[in-house]
Amino acid sequence: MPLPRTPGTALRQRLAELRGPEVPPKALDARALAALAANPGCKRRAILDGAGVNKATLASALGSPSGFGQSQFALARGNTFEARVKADGGAELLRLVHEKLDPGAVPPAEAEVPDLTATGPEGRTARTALALRDAHLARTDSGTGGWTLLDHPMLALDVAGSPAFLEPDAVVVHPDGSWTVVEIKSFPMLDGSADPAKVGAAARQAAVYVLALEEVAARLTEGGAAPEPTVNHRVLLVCPKDFSNLPAASAVDVRKQRAVTGRQLSRLTRIEDIADTLPEGTCFAPDLPTAELTAAVESVPAEYAPECLSACELAFHCRDRSRAQGAVTSLGRSVRADLGALTTVDDVLAAAHGRSGDPADPTVAALRRAAALRAEALNTTGVSLPAPELPFPEGAVCR
């Protein structure tokens, strides 16, 4: 099995230098990828993830540690539930796949569960691809149509020029040869519905697996004439039912998430190009002095928005910078969208209070009207408004 295109030795060397000597790379997971796709313009995140820098450690070294962490209770609960779902050779899991996604197929009386253990992510990826090929050949050549369950397979996806290794909870091969991604989550499905935000996150994550599986499928048939196996665009989401630990499942259509994520990944600025813009000797090793590290991080531009707080370990650092620069985006992307070319707090306030700006500019005119209406409303009700600092003399010349 050929692995996905690996980055050239030169780039790999360059990324290793960026990471720092003797720092092992941190693998990208599907969650990180989905979050990366949510903020595709952020070069800082792209290069750090691409180089396999551990952003949590980096954030601590910068003095703005991330607030991320997982409670051991949640972890234990997630593992127990997953083990329960996959018990008995995945009988319950396959029953759910059959019931929710493929009720026309033969019931999964027994299933193959190939052994996927191997050393290292590359080995496991190759092992997974092999198991998928065997399952595919068994169905196309000999026509034996059974069920196959791949427990924690490993998939590789080329992201901005470097491979990311992904580990779905399970992949099921149907009797007709199609593949389905299974995502097991420990948030509850209450009366058939779950928290939309969490389902959305799970769907984005599953979409990344679907993309990676499609690459595997395409490579399976690269030389041969056999039809490419289909990767189902409906994934199976398995959650605890109500307040119990019994599994409940629902098919989730991820076509939209797949299209969005695929597009975002393809337009991610290529890591090579970003790496080329960095000054010689840039390094993100967490044991460097803080000032040096800060300078290194600052040499890559970031696109901070409040949404980063829930997705990126470096968010607090970037937020401090964004606030220090007075960027209006730190108040939200929608705020910035309202303000046109005015991107800093001081610019906006100066324009609103008539100290600068061209009144013919619609943004400036709207701001002045808003400021006047606001002042009028506050004055009539006697709510005190802090005196605007730097009062300009009457008739100050507008720029």
Partner: protein, 542 residues
């Protein structure tokens, strides 16, 4: 976010303090609200860890589940919670006043006025954040289908007697909280951020500590510094100085403090159960009590700061005068409370897992209507909100510069005065558009006649002159009643939106409802049996 709100946020950034986003308080606050600060166990659904609850800020009741995965301990917690919440609710159920309600007479089919009871006040529940409201809903859902031993002697794990009832009330409160403008169950972060604009994003406003830091920073600090400290500062043990307002806990707390404490409790309990003689049992009971006490202290240490913050936030809100229409919306909350009280008394079954089509349609219609009502009422109560509507062209304010008396044509001519208003606002008036102003609390309608070039100003001057024809609220006579027509020099404010919301079309009767929506065919037999209980996990652990 409107430009005015954006501007307020930017001013908050530059001044270092939150800026007013409202000049009056748009939600009713009870004199004696019940505050609930719940904590939940990470990863588990409906497994509370503990709570501070009560209506006395100096004496909250601390409830703790020492081992959240133990069903009996969870039930004990819920029973204790019911012992606090239900008497509080009951204390409002008995004080009633007479009110009238329109009902359809079942025999004649006519609308008649019926004298009914309306609770004089309603119990108000306050939680720290929006996640708290979701948790109240979740708890309600987890409790209302439980069976007590009395209801079903066969049930494998009977719930304590008052727990299902608490579940029904929590469900009602959670459902009511989705109605715009309601105040039965309030999330403090929502109410505070409605009234103040901070120098951070709406996402960050969800953090109660940070929000309060902007609104009322401690002496000498700027809002930004104080908010940062509230968000991130940790003590020597790596614990947040300002614990999250819950119900989710900080993972560092779970891993470093809570998990070892629960482990000690587990061990002490096993040892106690295995004790062979009375003396060693006494010793081990001492260990068990100590382990339990430690857990109580831990939970209190995470909830007490939030408890104090909630009351501090309530104090801040009380500094604003209540908006004139807030009491009108509170009356609707009282109706809602009275309605559910009556359903409970009548012995109706708990709210179903899923609403039927008719109930769902009614709920949606209510929410839409209340949203429109809320927007109109907030604008009328608060010049700052009205300023936002004026900015967006949905209202205009100005001075009356001329009034000309005209009359309608017809047998009995009625007054139709033409009022000319000069305004700097730019309302988006269509031909013959209706506009409204508030006249003694009632809306008076006028019709847009046209723009007039003002004689004094040359073309291109700021503002415009608008001619309106007043069409109602002037009495029955030929001459309008005194004070019902604006006079020259008056300052007036007209809105393009209606002040009062009309209900939509009524849904058809049950026998006219198609079967797709729950109507006939087939007699709807209202079975007296209880809805099925949830399936329970066999092992005790969740």
């Amino acid at each position: 976010m409107s430009l005015i709100a954006t501007l307020a946020r930017l001013e908050a950034v530059s001044s270092g303090r939150a800026q007013p986003a409202a000049t009056v308080r748009h939600r009713h606050l009870s004199d004696r609200p019940l505050v609930l600060v719940p904590l939940t166990t990470a990863g588990e659904a409906g497994a509370p860890l503990g709570a501070l609850v009560g209506d006395d800020r100096d004496a909250p009741r601390l409830l703790v589940v020492p081992q959240p995965r133990d069903r009996d301990l969870r039930f004990a917690f819920l029973a204790e919670l019911a012992d606090v919440v239900l008497p509080f609710i009951d204390s409002y159920a008995d004080a009633v006043e007479a009110a009238e309600r329109n009902e359809t007479d079942p025999e004649t089919g006519k609308r008649v006025k019926v004298e009914v009871e309306l609770c004089a006040d309603a119990p108000q529940l306050i939680v720290p954040s929006r996640a708290g409201i979701e948790f109240v809903r979740l708890l309600g859902r987890s409790m209302r289908f439980r069976r007590t031993a009395e209801q079903d002697p066969e049930t494998p794990h009977p719930a304590p007697p008052r727990v299902p009832l608490l579940g029904r009330w929590f469900t009602h409160y959670g459902e009511r909280a989705r109605v715009p403008g309601s105040a039965l169950l309030l999330a403090l972060t929502d109410v505070l951020s409605r009234h103040w604009a901070t120098g951070q994003s709406t996402l960050e406003d969800q953090h109660l500590g940070a929000l309060l830091a902007w609104i009322d920073p401690p002496d000498g600090a700027s809002g930004a510094e104080a908010a940062l400290r509230a968000e991130l500062a940790r003590d020597a043990k790596g614990q947040l100085l300002c614990p999250p307002a819950g119900p989710a806990t900080d993972p560092a707390f779970d891993n470093k403090l809570l998990a070892p404490a629960i482990e000690r409790f587990n061990r002490a309990r096993t040892a106690h159960a295995a004790a062979e003689d009375g003396e060693s049992a006494d010793d081990r009971l001492g260990e068990l009590t100590a382990a339990e006490r430690e857990l109580y202290a831990l939970v209190e240490s995470r909830t007490r700061p939030t408890w104090d913050a909630v009351w501090h936030g309530l104090d801040l809100l009380r500094t604003l005068p209540e908006g004139a229409h807030a009491v009108d919306r509170w009356t609707r909350d009282r109706w809602s409370f009275t309605g559910h009280r009556d359903r409970v008394i009548a012995g109706e079954p708990p709210q179903p897992r899923r609403d039927d089509a008719v109930t769902a349609a009614n709920k949606l219609a209510t929410r839409e209507r209340e949203q429109a009502r809320l927007e109109a009422q907030e604008a009328l109560d608060d010049p700052l909100v009205m300023a936002g509507r004026r900015l967006s062209g949905e209202a205009f304010a100005g001075e009356v510069i001329d009034v000309v008396m005209t009359y309608s044509e017809g047998k009995r001519p009625s007054p139709r005065p033409l009022v000319t208003v000069r305004t700097d606002d730019r309302p988006q008036l269509g031909e013959r558009a209706k506009v409204y102003r508030s006249l003694g609390g009632k809306p008076q309608a006028a019709e847009f006649v046209g723009h007039e070039n003002s004689p004094e100003d040359g073309p291109g001057a700021e503002g415009s002159v608008i001619v309106l024809r007043v069409v109602d609220k002037m009495g029955r006579g030929k001459e309008p009643e005194a004070g019902s027509v604006p006079e020259k020099g008056d300052l007036v404010c007209f809105t393009l939106f209606e002040h009062e919301q009309r209900g939509g079309a009524k849904l058809p009767d049950a026998d006219q409802t198609p079967w797709t929506h729950g109507g006939p065919p087939g007699e709807q037999t209202t079975t007296a049996t209880l809805p099925e209980a949830d399936p329970v996990t066999e092992e005790d652990v969740l």
